[in-house]
Structures are given as structure tokens and as C-alpha cells.
């Protein structure tokens, strides 16, 4: 990888690290701010711990981003964020399908409108981190082409 890519990688890791730390603190606070919510029951403390750890791991990969042992830290931190975000999305999917009704004769599945409404905001912190964290795929493929 050339110098520019390495610089870009260090920047990416630094920004992601700070962002993950910030969102991790939000998970600890566990409140709702407009389109962002960290209200999610008892697991919220674990999500906070994971995001904070991911933040620290990202930051530890900032220097010498050309070394595979450094890049891999950013990869691992990204995977940690993907897991949390994927579970947030999976919770949305699981909640969107059944109607929740209990009496005989009522529909079993959620109506189309209810189904779609389940995917509206607010979203969990990790879901906001998901999109920028995908940039790591660029570095992985760059490495593969280079080698």
C-alpha cells in the first residue's frame, strides 16, 4: 500500500476510534436523542463495553497502518461493531414480523404498514457506526491487490 493509503488508514482508524468511544458512552447513558436511541434494556451495558473496547482497539491501530498486525486491529474492531449493529437490525426484523395479537381471529402477522414502521428511526448507536466502519473493506481489498 502506498503512503497516501496508509495515511488515510490512520485517519480512518482515529476517527472510528473516537466515534466508537463517543457512541459507547451514549450506550452507557442509555437515553434517546432524536433519531438516535440507546434505550435497549439490560444488554445496553454490554453494548457500551463492546463499543468502548472497539474504540480503544481502533485507536491502537492508528500508528503504522501499513503493518498487517496493525490493520488487523481495525478489522477486529470493525467486526465487533458489525456484530452489535447486526443484532440491532436483527432485533428490528424479529419485532416487525408477528402482529403481537393474542385473541383468536386476529391476524398472526403484522400489517404492511406496521411492518415498515418497525424499520423507522430512531436507530441504535452501532447502526450509525456500521456504515463508516465498512470502509475497512477498502483497506482489506487494497492489501489483497497489493500482495
Amino acid at each position: 500500500m502506498d503512503n497516501n493509503v496508509t495515511k488515510f488508514g490512520s485517519m480512518f482508524a482515529a476517527i472510528m476510534g473516537i466515534a466508537a468511544l463517543g457512541f459507547g458512552i451514549m450506550e452507557f447513558v442509555g437515553e434517546e436523542w432524536g433519531p438516535l436511541t440507546a434505550e435497549g434494556g439490560t444488554f445496553t451495558a454490554w453494548r457500551a463495553i463492546i463499543l468502548l473496547c472497539a474504540g480503544v482497539i481502533y485507536l491502537s491501530s492508528v500508528t503504522n497502518f501499513i503493518d498487517v498486525r496493525q490493520i488487523v486491529k481495525a478489522v477486529a474492531a470493525s467486526i465487533m461493531i458489525w456484530i452489535v449493529a447486526a443484532m440491532d437490525i436483527w432485533a428490528m426484523i424479529a419485532a416487525s414480523i408477528p402482529s403481537g395479537a393474542e385473541e383468536a381471529g386476529e391476524p398472526w402477522f403484522a400489517s404492511g404498514a406496521d411492518f415498515l414502521a418497525a424499520y423507522g428511526p430512531p436507530y441504535m448507536p452501532a447502526m450509525y457506526l456500521l456504515v463508516p466502519s465498512l470502509v475497512i473493506i477498502y483497506f482489506i481489498t487494497r492489501r489483497r491487490i497489493a500482495s
Partner: protein
């Protein structure tokens, strides 16, 4: 030239010469670029990075499991059984004699107009709760667990997790792979007991099953705890973990037998093959249906016979005063502790939480968790262990309850928390 020499022992120079020739052929410098997979393999077994990563993976494991089981059980099957099957069946079989109705359908009181509660759990008959437990609750938990387990296995993560926790588990005579039954049991103890087959010797399996049955709460219990005592969950888990490791250590010392090392295949990380994962999940689920379900049905039948003959009431009243004295829980709570003897998933919900202090709630929840394996788990225990081991498990259970419960009681008294 050394080639013509025939004696066996070479001189040092000749040996170095031979070493040079061999290395020239087999060692190539600059041929490898260190790979990402390799780096990831190191990162995930190094405690500093491996433990946070493991926390993320385990968070995913349980969240996926919880949502999946919730989708099927709460989303559909509670309604199928609670609104359709059980009311229909109780109507259709109403004419049966009392004893047969009790065994097949359950306690008639559950079907009275003024009954408050969920008939799915409360009825207790072979065709009601007996079918509800395996097909509406445990089955979906099992599918979700096996699915995630297969993914973790096929990507190559599971053996690395085992390597990561190996050091700690060795101290109690278990192997890193003991993490698998433990993980599975946190979802559902029933497949957890099956998963102990990974362990090599009878001693390891027995220890694992005893520890699982006593110290590992299942997903249903954890769900109940989350709902009723969210503030105390952390303490409950910490206490259980201490019990798991502590009693494991003791058990390892006193139970005869060996705990040899199990050698794991630690393959490189790779993308999983979905067809293989689905096949694995299916074959394990099928196996579970064939071996566990008949035992659950049998267990329900036995319990209902005990109810129908009144034996259960005798047991309950005999235990009540005793429990209050030993553990310092109020008399009101003992009813729930007795129910917990057979259905611990329900029991936490029956605790009179408002009437108790935090410490009493805490100690009651711990006791309910370590009390007795749930019916389905107990059925699996009968299947997997021999008589000597079953008696030992029960003995272990009783000792644990008194020692552990007694210690907590004393700590509470000393701290003045009652």
C-alpha cells in the same frame, strides 16, 4: 567428501554441512507475505484483544438466540398453545376421570374462569405443558443455539475461544472446550447437557453436567430475571460464576478419574459454507427432537402423577419451614421455592418481590437458579448419567444449596442486609 562416509555419527562440521544442504532446500525467505487471517488468528487468542472480541461474539450469540427464540415462542407459539390448542384440548377431554385429566391436560384449577397466569406453563399435563415446553420453547432456542454454534465452528472461531479460556478452565480440571456446553446452557440447559459429549472422560462430563445443572441459568430464567430484578442481575451472575469455578475446583479434587487434555483441531479462519451450517444445524436439531422430547414427556407424566396422588403437597409442606430457617427467606417465598423444585423457569415469577428486601430477593433468585435442574434438563440428566453419577449430582446439589445458600445467608446477616 562426506557422502562416502558410512559410519553413523557425523562430526559437528559434517552435521552443519548437512543442515545447510537441507535448509537450502526447504527454507525460502521472502516467499510469504504475512496474511490478514494469520494476524486475526493471533489477535483473537491474545487476551488483551481476544477478550473484548470474545465479549462481542458472545453478545451476538445471546442476542441472536434471544430474539430468535422470542420471535417464534412469544410471537407465535404461546398463542398457538395458549389461545388455541390448550383451551380446545381441555374442552374436548373434559369428560375424562380426574386422574387421567390431570396427567394428560393438567390441574383443573388452571381452567377455572378466575385463573390468573399462563396456562401454557401452569397446566402441566403431558399434552399441554409437556408439548408446549419442547416444541414451543426449547425447540426454537435449540435451533438458534445450534445455528450460531455451527457458524462459530465453521468460521474457526470456536476452537480459538476454547484456547482463550483454556488456562482458566484448566484450574478446575476442565478443558477450554467446556466453554461450549456452558455457552449453550446459558441459552438452554437441555442441549447444554448433550454438548458435554465433546468432553473426553466420564469425569469431565459428570463435572460439567453437575456444574451446568446447578450454576448455569438458562435463557428463560435470565429473561425472568431481566424482567423482575434488572438491578440485581450483575450480582446474581457474579455469585453464580464464583460458585461455578469454586465448586468446579472442589469437585475436580474429590471426584475420582482423569481430566486429560483434549486436542482440538484449530483450523485457519475461513468463510463458512452455508449449506454445511444448515445441514449441521438440522442434524443436531433432529437428534435433539429424537432423544430429548420423549424424556420431557415422560418427566411431565411423572410430575403430574405426583400431583394427582397428592404426593407433591406432602413434599411441599414438609420443606417450607425448613427452607425459611436455613436461608432466612420469608415464609411467603417458600411456596415459590417449592415450585422451583420442578419448574424453575416459573418460580422466579412467583416470588413475592414487593414483600422482600433486596437481599432476600437476591438470595431467593440464587437459590432458585442453583436449586434443581428444570424438568427437561433433569430428564436429560437421567439419560446421560449412570445411577452413581445421578446420585452424586443430587448430593452435590444438596450440599451446594446448603453451603452456598448458608454462606450467602451468613454474609447477609453479617452485612445486616436482611
Amino acid at each position: 567428501m562426506w557422502e562416502v562416509k558410512v559410519e553413523r555419527a557425523l562430526t559437528a562440521d559434517e552435521r552443519w554441512d548437512l543442515v545447510d544442504k537441507i535448509t537450502k532446500e526447504v527454507v525460502k525467505v521472502g516467499a510469504y507475505k504475512p496474511g490478514l487471517r494469520d494476524a486475526l488468528a493471533s489477535l483473537t487468542v491474545n487476551p488483551w484483544t481476544g477478550i473484548p472480541f470474545a465479549i462481542a461474539v458472545l453478545y451476538g450469540f445471546w442476542t441472536f438466540f434471544g430474539e430468535f427464540a422470542g420471535l417464534f415462542t412469544d410471537g407465535f407459539f404461546v398463542r398457538i398453545f395458549g389461545t388455541h390448542w390448550i383451551p380446545w384440548l381441555s374442552g374436548a377431554l373434559e369428560g375424562l376421570p380426574d386422574w387421567l385429566f390431570t396427567i394428560l391436560v393438567g390441574d383443573r384449577a388452571v381452567f377455572a374462569e378466575d385463573f390468573v397466569g399462563d396456562p401454557c406453563f401452569a397446566a402441566g399435563g403431558v399434552l399441554t405443558t409437556g408439548l408446549f415446553m419442547p416444541f414451543a420453547v426449547v425447540l426454537w432456542a435449540v435451533i438458534a443455539l445450534f445455528l450460531v454454534l455451527a457458524i462459530l465452528e465453521d468460521t474457526g472461531y470456536l476452537p480459538r475461544l476454547a484456547v482463550l479460556v483454556d488456562t482458566v478452565l484448566h484450574k478446575i480440571g476442565l478443558h477450554g472446550f467446556a466453554i461450549v456446553p456452558t455457552l449453550v446452557s446459558l441459552g438452554c440447559n437441555v442441549p447444554g447437557v448433550t454438548a458435554t459429549r465433546l468432553l473426553e472422560t466420564r469425569k469431565q462430563r459428570f463435572m460439567m453436567i453437575a456444574l451446568l445443572g446447578v450454576f448455569v441459568p438458562c435463557g428463560a430464567q435470565i429473561g425472568m430475571m431481566e424482567e423482575l430484578i434488572p438491578g440485581l442481575i450483575g450480582w446474581v451472575f457474579l455469585t453464580l460464576a464464583i460458585g461455578y469455578l469454586g465448586f468446579g475446583w472442589v469437585l475436580n479434587k474429590i471426584w475420582p478419574g482423569e481430566s486429560p487434555e483434549i486436542l482440538m483441531d484449530v483450523p485457519p479462519y475461513r468463510a463458512p459454507q452455508w449449506s454445511n451450517i444448515l445441514r449441521k444445524t438440522w442434524s443436531r436439531t433432529r437428534h435433539f427432537l429424537m432423544v430429548a422430547v420423549p424424556f420431557v414427556l415422560l418427566g411431565c407424566a411423572i410430575v403430574m402423577v405426583l400431583y394427582a396422588t397428592g404426593a407433591m403437597d406432602t413434599i411441599a409442606s414438609g420443606l417450607e419451614g425448613f427452607l425459611a430457617a436455613v436461608f432466612g427467606v420469608p415464609a411467603d417465598a417458600t411456596a415459590s421455592l417449592v415450585v422451583g423444585f420442578l419448574r424453575k423457569d416459573l418460580a422466579i415469577g412467583l416470588l413475592p418481590i414487593d414483600a422482600m428486601t433486596n437481599y432476600q430477593v437476591f438470595i431467593s433468585v440464587i437459590l432458585l437458579t442453583i436449586y434443581f435442574p428444570c424438568l427437561a434438563t433433569f430428564a436429560m440428566l437421567l439419560r446421560e448419567l449412570n445411577w452413581k453419577e445421578i446420585l452424586a449430582t443430587l448430593g452435590f446439589l444438596i450440599v451446594t444449596i446448603f453451603v452456598f445458600g448458608g454462606i450467602l445467608h451468613l454474609i447477609g446477616l453479617a452485612g445486616g442486609w436482611y
